[in-house]
């Protein structure tokens, strides 16, 4: 970003004396130029002019010779300073850093003991002051009139401050001292010094003998010519060895550029000063005419950085004509010159080019060839369209002044100008009130607009019309519509002049305010899980091949079909996850590696699912017009499905060892314990259903297949503003894409999570191989639930509340003998079915297998709480209920235990 040297800036605007960089920054930020940082010589504290009164040379045991000096620094007493430099002599004037001073690089000076003396400061070399690399001896200023004891920073010019600023991309003109000066004027009212107007009056008339230039753009981008202005000047007899004056070198250095040679320094100076990039050619190497044209496919150019570059037909070229017009390429327009015509240390005849190159052309070329330059940066943003001749004139003036005794300005003055004059624009001043909320008199609005360089047409100066017709300044291509001018007015008046109001929305039946039910449901879910000991994490959605192979997801699994990034971060995962667990398990691993082993993590986030049967593509539509219904539908259908999901992982101990409890590790039982938490969090009755549950048909429940559960979790209707063709869970393709696997879960310790009507997720222990791959504890439990489509439905909101019985409850325990492999829910489901009215609750309190039970059987004990809505149950009624349970259970192999 540009650096603003205060001294240089003073050539464009009257600055108050002793203006600091901080004050400048404060003034500029008001008009939209942000402070990046402040640069200075890096010297703080006391740095004074001293005089060596006497000194003694001492050679020490390490062989080093030092001088023990008595130095007058303008104080009553002399200071004793040890100095190692060989050029110390009596009465020499020197620069002394006193204790407390800080030299460049943060080098702090203090009084310290060295070579047997207390050295009360330091006599400085040029390098120590950051002036040069000179370090052979101390800086000798005897021959100057510097006063003993005075501030050496001021004497050495080390008081400078440079403000580095950020320029917003719409204001290319601020990439110049002239532009910054103008902004300082706008902010403070300080007088702007219009150097360019003055220069324009000095430009000689174009001559017939001008260096011939042909603008021949046969392929303008979007019908805008790549170059419409090309000014040339010729200066002869320049001394190639003439040095840049010190001020010029200092200006450039402080503005962040290196001093190279007089011609190059001058062109850089003009660019920084006025904002017009300049190119200087060695005239003797040029073949007339210069032709500005687009590249032909296959053409190459060796640029100044010694790189050979293959050109694109869109690149705009500067060419000359050694063997026919345009036969040799000598530069990429606005970006970088070529080696053939470069200024060398023998160049004395210089052709100066100041041209206008169109922003898109330069931006694309600079991007294509990775050649950002100070010049391209300015052209990309749009330079002043009427600056070229004046900038070339400034170049000429400086070459004449500093180019040695034999400099001559040639009368071959060129300025090809095929610009179309900009049409006047309109501005509606009423909008100052209605959009900005500022009540300004029309005359004030007018004077602001004129101050930024607009000219109102004669009629409009009377300010009677609704829309003012005006021309915009040549350096402000960004000013086009009312709003552009409104910003100018607001920032020049000051954003702080605009009041503070809070708008009041209208309420309507369709657009009631507040969170939607769905948004509240997601919050409730998240709050419930965190209240139940889960920590919410957010993971990056990026995965790679390894991510999926670690989870043992195989290539045939539809979850392997992933959305791919065109430009992933270097060396990073280049796909988007198809399940949350893919990335959540990474975070689990990360914690485990950091010795956070007791983990209950969850994430609520999106997954990304493409339809393998159609290309991942949406239409590209024009800006500025709303899409039609059909186009919108096409966009939404083309996006991948992005269902919102919940995933969780439990790792480590579910109970830690305490004085009152033993430790208990996470395993499959945690999944069962989690169910009521999930029910409450999701506000939905849930069931866990196992795949291998062959007998579940006997229960009143639909057959479910855990494979299908995975399928549903992967493909369901997304809830965002997107509807998606591949989101239809019942489509034939999706049926065909059913999972063949249940990775990453343990095949016999996994269950589908189901509502009464559909599968919503899966829970279980991770497969032992997955735990091993990820270095997780065996039996780690994980779950993933799809939240899209079902989270809010009529049922969950408008369910009926059951009336409460006022009669006493009866507790009855039942123990059954059942085949050891029987899923116990079959028993409880049946009991629930048998007692639709009286059963208040049913609790599984024990499962026993062992010596008191025959081989192959288990004892299952339920505690039932029975209560009638209308009466106190008497013993007979209770006995009837017992009999019903025992008599009508009707599950093969299950009987009441005696």
């Amino acid at each position: 970003m540009p650096r603003v040297d205060l001294q240089w800036l003073g050539e464009h605007v009257e600055l108050p004396e002793n203006l600091t960089a901080e004050e400048l920054a404060q003034a500029l930020v008001k008009v939209g130029i942000e402070e990046e940082t402040i640069h200075s010589a890096g010297i703080a504290g006391p740095l004074v002019i001293g005089q060596v009164k006497q000194f003694e040379r001492e050679t020490h045991s390490n062989g080093k010779t030092i001088s023990w000096c008595q130095v007058d620094v303008g104080e009553p007493e002399l200071r004793g300073i040890v100095c190692g430099a060989p050029n110390i002599r009596a009465d020499q004037k020197v620069v002394v850093a006193l204790p407390g001073a800080i030299l460049p690089g943060g080098f702090e000076i203090s009084a310290r003991k060295t070579y047997g003396h207390i050295s009360d400061g330091m006599i400085c070399s040029e390098r120590e002051l950051g002036l040069s690399d000179e370090h052979e001896g101390i800086l000798d200023i005897t021959e100057t009139d510097a006063a003993i004891g005075s501030d050496a920073k001021a004497f050495l010019g080390l008081n400078y401050q440079v403000l580095e600023v950020n320029i917003t991309p719409d204001r290319g003109y601020e990439y110049s001292y002239r532009g910054i000066g103008r902004e300082y004027h706008h902010s403070t009212g300080a007088k702007f010094i219009d150097k360019v107007s003055e220069l324009k009056t000095c430009v000689p008339a174009v001559s017939d003998s001008a260096f011939q230039v042909i603008l021949d753009d046969q392929a303008p981008i979007r019908d805008v010519l790549g170059c419409n202005r090309f000014a040339t000047r010729l200066v002869e007899g320049v001394d190639p060895q003439a040095p840049s004056p010190k001020w010029l070198q200092d200006y450039l250095t402080r503005s962040g550029m290196r001093s190279i040679s007089l011609a190059v320094d001058i062109s850089n100076y003009v660019m920084l000063d006025l904002g017009q990039p300049i190119h200087c050619y060695d005239y003797e190497t040029l073949f007339e005419p210069i032709v500005v044209r687009r590249a032909q496919a296959g053409e190459t150019l060796v640029t100044l950085d010694n790189q050979e570059r293959t050109l694109d037909p869109e690149d705009l070229l500067i060419t000359d004509s050694p063997s026919g017009p345009g036969s040799r390429i000598i530069g990429l327009a606005g970006t970088m010159g070529g080696l053939d015509t470069e200024i060398t240390d023998s160049t004395s005849k210089i052709l100066i080019e100041a041209a206008y190159f169109e922003p898109v052309t330069v931006a694309r070329t600079a991007k294509r060839h990775k050649l950002p330059s100070e010049a391209s940066r300015r052209f990309e943003r749009g330079i002043d369209t009427d600056l070229q001749a004046a900038a070339a004139q400034l170049c000429v003036d400086l070459l004449v002044k500093y180019g040695g005794p034999n400099v001559q300005v040639s009368n071959r003055v060129g300025d090809i100008n095929i610009q179309v004059p900009a049409a006047p624009v309109t501005f509606n001043p009423a909008k100052v009130q209605t959009v900005l909320g500022l009540n300004l008199p029309a005359t004030q609005i007018q004077s602001i607009l004129e101050d930024i360089g607009c000219h109102l047409t004669a009629d409009n100066r009377r300010l009677k019309t609704d829309n003012w017709l005006m021309t915009t300044p040549s350096w402000r291509p960004d000013l086009r519509i009312d709003e552009d001018f409104l910003e100018e007015i607001a920032r020049i008046v000051g954003y702080d002049q605009i009041g503070l109001e809070i708008p009041a929305p209208h309420f309507s039946a369709e657009a009631y305010p507040g969170l939607t039910k769905r948004q509240r449901a997601v919050r409730h879910l998240s709050n419930s899980l965190s209240a139940n000991g889960f920590t919410e994490v957010i993971t990056y959605p990026f995965v790679g091949r390894k991510t999926l192979s670690n989870l043992t997801i195989d290539p045939a699994d539809p979850r392997s079909y992933l959305v791919k990034l065109a430009n992933p971060l270097a060396g990073k995962k280049s796909y988007l996850r198809s399940e949350l667990l893919q990335t959540l398990l990474d975070t689990v691993q990360h914690n485990v590696f950091r010795d956070n082993t007791n983990l209950r993590l969850y994430e609520i986030g999106h997954t990304y699912l493409a339809d393998p049967n159609s290309a991942l593509q949406v239409p590209d539509l024009p800006a500025g017009v709303p899409p039609t219904e059909a186009q919108l539908a096409e966009i939404n259908a083309g996006l991948p499905a992005q269902p919102l999901k919940l995933a969780g992982v439990l790792h480590g101990e579910t109970l830690t060892k305490t004085p009152i409890s033993a430790a208990r590790s996470i395993d499959w039982t945690a999944a069962i314990e989690l169910l009521p938490i999930l029910e409450s969090a999701l506000h939905k009755k849930l069931h866990l259903v196992q795949t291998d549950d062959s007998r579940q048909t006997t229960a009143d429940r639909s057959v479910v297949d855990v494979r299908r559960s995975a399928d549903v979790s992967a493909h369901s209707v997304q809830d965002l503003a997107v509807t998606n063709s591949n989101a239809d869970a019942d489509s034939a393709e999706l049926v065909a894409r059913r999972y063949s696997q249940i990775s990453p879960f343990h095949p016999t310790r996994v269950a589908a999570i189901s509502t009464s009507t559909k599968i919503i997720g899966v829970i279980g222990e991770l497969h032992p191989r997955v735990c091993k791959n990820l270095h997780l504890q065996a039996h780690t439990v994980a779950f993933e639930i799809n939240l899209s489509g079902w989270l809010i439905d009529q049922g969950s909101e408008f369910f009926s509340v059951q009336p409460l019985s006022r009669y006493p409850a009866v507790k009855q325990d039942f123990s059954f003998l059942a085949p050891a492999d029987l899923p116990v829910h079959l028993i409880s489901d049946r009991i629930t079915q048998l007692l639709p009215d009286e059963l208040e609750s049913l609790t599984l309190i024990d499962i026993y297998q062992g010596e008191r039970i025959s081989e192959g059987l288990k004892s299952v004990t339920y505690s039932l709480k029975i209560r009638s809505l209308n009466q106190t149950l008497n013993p007979e009624q209770i006995e009837k209920i017992r009999a019903r349970i025992i008599g009508e259970l009707n599950i093969d192999g299950v009987r009441l235990r005696d």
């Binding site: 204001r171 929305p505 992933l562 992933p568 949406v618």
Partner: protein, 343 residues
């Protein structure tokens, strides 16, 4: 029973004494959970705006370029559309499939493809050369010309074998801001609208102390008949006081975003700023650009409004003196735990 008193029953008194326990001991707990501080903060923002009568709108993360850029007045050549800032979606494939060449390390290829595509369109000429979206998590590099990217200079040149041609471009990105939700909501609900759009957004910044490629943003939009810039300032000043305390001072500076004009950045006065109290940039905002309204089918002669974008990570860092982004994004439970129980 109710009549028992200490003096009446020495036996009970003795029993009660015998039953004395140590309640000061603490047991380790495995059941202390906590919400993610970013989501919690986002909800805090949502609640503020809901209390003003606004709605919360959501949109997809993999988004059409049209919504992410074109509809928001980003010119086709806007550098924010360059690969350096935006994750482009290539295509979908089987992650294990061998039929696909390994070209994932050639980001410039798709870039050139984008450019080819752009040639066929007649659009606004390029005027801007920096990434300018609200709530960027990037600071100070808005000037980087497009080619001055942070990729190594020896990155491979575009591969002519790149499998996608211009006609097969996905035209999708990972959204770089939640601003596309503005257009989606306006298309769906029309004006007037008072809304915020919280959500996850993506930029191609490597994770470091102050950047993350995946971060969170809250976009706000008001479109109505009589909205002025004073409404913008009033709302955001109020918000700053809600977020950072009643005495918070705000400052609005002119700035630039393609989708607002006039544009501003809002600074807050930060007492705890490193190196001494000072202004820090908090959010970007402005009056909605007429082209944005046109893209959403709203007549800018009738309706106007304002928009703003806030970085959630940035806000969290300010509020809690967090100096390293790694702590926020890595998911180490010790980070979130500090938000569960305050000292």
């Amino acid at each position: 029973m109710a009549k028992i008193s200490k003096s009446a029953d020495p036996q009970l008194l003795e029993k009660i004494w015998q039953e004395r326990v140590d309640l000061s001991q603490r047991f380790a707990s495995t059941s202390t959970g906590v919400r993610n501080p970013l989501h919690k903060l986002m909800e805090d923002f949502e609640d503020f705006f809901v209390s003003l009568g606004w709605t919360v709108e959501l949109g997809p993360e993999v988004e059409a370029e049209w919504f992410n850029f074109d509809s928001l007045n980003f010119a086709k050549d806007h550098p924010a559309r360059a690969m350096q800032d935006t994750f482009y979606i290539s295509h979908a494939e089987n992650v294990f499939g061998d039929q696909q060449p390994a070209y994932s390390s050639q980001p410039t290829a798709a870039n050139s493809l984008k450019e080819e595509n752009n040639l066929q369109k007649t659009e606004d000429s390029l005027r801007y050369s920096a990434d300018n979206a609200f709530g960027s998590n990037t600071r100070g590099d808005s000037d980087l010309p497009p080619a001055a990217c942070r990729l190594p200079s020896d990155e491979p040149i575009p591969n002519p074998q790149f499998p996608i041609t211009g006609n097969e471009a996905s035209n999708m990105v990972l959204r770089t801001h939640t601003s596309p939700v503005e257009t989606r909501s306006l298309l769906k609900k029309g004006a007037p609208i008072y809304m915020v759009a919280p959500g996850q957004v993506f930029r191609t910044d490597e994770l470091d102390a102050t950047h993350t490629p995946v971060f969170h943003q809250l976009e706000g939009l008001v479109i109505d008949r009589d909205i002025t810039m004073a409404h913008l300032k009033g709302t955001l000043d109020y918000l700053a006081k809600y977020m950072f305390g009643r005495d918070t001072k705000t400052r609005f500076r002119p700035s630039f975003f393609p989708f607002t004009e006039p544009s501003a950045e809002m600074d807050i006065w930060f007492e705890a700023k490193k190196g001494g109290a000072g202004w820090i940039e908090w959010l970007g905002c402005g009056m909605t650009h007429p082209n944005v309204l046109r893209s959403a089918g709203i007549d800018p002669e009738i309706f106007r409004g304002f928009a703003f974008g806030i970085g959630i990570e940035r806000t969290l860092m300010f509020r809690h003196n967090i100096t390293d982004m790694h702590d926020i994004v890595e998911g180490d439970i010790r980070f979130a735990a500090q938000f569960g129980v305050a000292q």
